[in-house]
């Protein structure tokens, strides 16, 4: 399984203000981009944090393949794995497939809480941000 290391990290302008000796502890620091400087605009905030369409599309592909669904079957972000026919075994395999495809590592407890395509895509992006 892939393990996440902080060996190469890409920084945004927020991170450039971090001192050098804090780099190695980056994994445990939570950087909030929402921050107090923004006015709360709930709907836009959610869209800005949601996964990229390409990620969602890739997740749909993996799910489609695992559940042997036809190429034209309608799978969207809201699609629940269970509704598409996934049982407990399928859900584990889907998460495994996502780990391989995106080079991430998902803990068992988090894995079991992913029930829709969108949740999977969001988790992937969240884990990729930490890389």
């Amino acid at each position: 399984m892939a393990s996440v290391t902080a060996s190469s990290v890409s920084f945004s302008s927020v991170a450039s203000s971090l001192k050098k000796n804090q780099v190695s502890q980056l994994k445990t620091v939570s950087v909030s981009f929402g921050g107090k400087s923004f006015k709360p605009v709930p709907l836009r905030f959610r869209v800005a944090c949601a996964a990229k369409p390409e990620t969602v599309e890739k997740v749909c592909e993996i799910v489609r393949k695992q559940l042997a669904l036809p190429a034209d079957s309608a799978i969207t972000g809201e699609s629940k794995f269970a509704s598409l026919g996934a049982d407990s075994l399928d859900t584990v395999e889907i998460v495994m497939g996502l780990e391989e495809e995106f080079g991430i590592s998902v803990e068992e407890e988090s894995a079991q809480s992913i029930t829709t395509v969108q949740e999977a895509a969001d988790m992937i992006e969240k884990l990729n941000e930490k890389k």
Partner: protein, 279 residues
Amino acid sequence: MSFLPNHEYSSITRFVKLGDQKRALVSRLLQYALVHQVLEIPFDEIIIRRTPEGKPYLVCDDMKLAFPNFNFNASHHGDFVAIASEPICLVGLDIVSHSVPKNETAHEFIQNFSSYFSSSEWYHIMHAGSSDEMLHIFYRYWCLKEAFVKAMGTGVGYKLDDVEFHHTNWNNIFVKVAGKELKDWKFWLLDLGQNHSVCIARGHPRTATTSYRTTLKRIEFDDKEYYNGFHLPNASFTFRTVEDLLQVIHGADRVPFDISTKCDVSEDEGSEGARFVQQ
């Protein structure tokens, strides 16, 4: 579907595949039929809801004294839909179909799940001999874990590698959680024809997850009461076809239900309607 109350329709139509819809439908029908037969509640008075984690339960103000803690669990996989109920203890039920993985070897397939098994369970699986045997053992352990988790009503986040099943040739099955044996839990594993296994878990109501516990009539029992409930014989499965089930619902024929009942639903997804196997 017209047998069911309206609010149940979406719980069936949400499934994309026809086979899943059929299984969901039969599962619902079984639940209503079971409650009707065991508790003698008229069909239109039966209210079945789900916990946030998805576990169905009966909403009932006045429970028959013989069944102080009536609860049930259903499962479907492959060609079967099954249901089991208990009067006192928690019950969990799971069916697995021992399907051979298509795009990978048995070994590769099983590897995906390594973190859900304890080291001794994993040892048994890996040292099975043939890959067919490996799959059988894997599916049986998985079935046990699922039945356990389903009995408690936990949807997510249970550390399954801490849940270790022990058995003597799949009899006298007991479980250790974090190294400690749970003496108020029992398990049975049966093989059904056509490469399916079914597991029943029976355990103490106080182990139910918070949300499911609120649906139970009673959590605490005195030792004697619990002992009786715990040591009820494990009724064998009764096989029913879907036609039998529909007859029960029509009230035309009182088909005697055991504590556990199973339906055989064989599907031909290519044809217009479903063909049901006559037993």
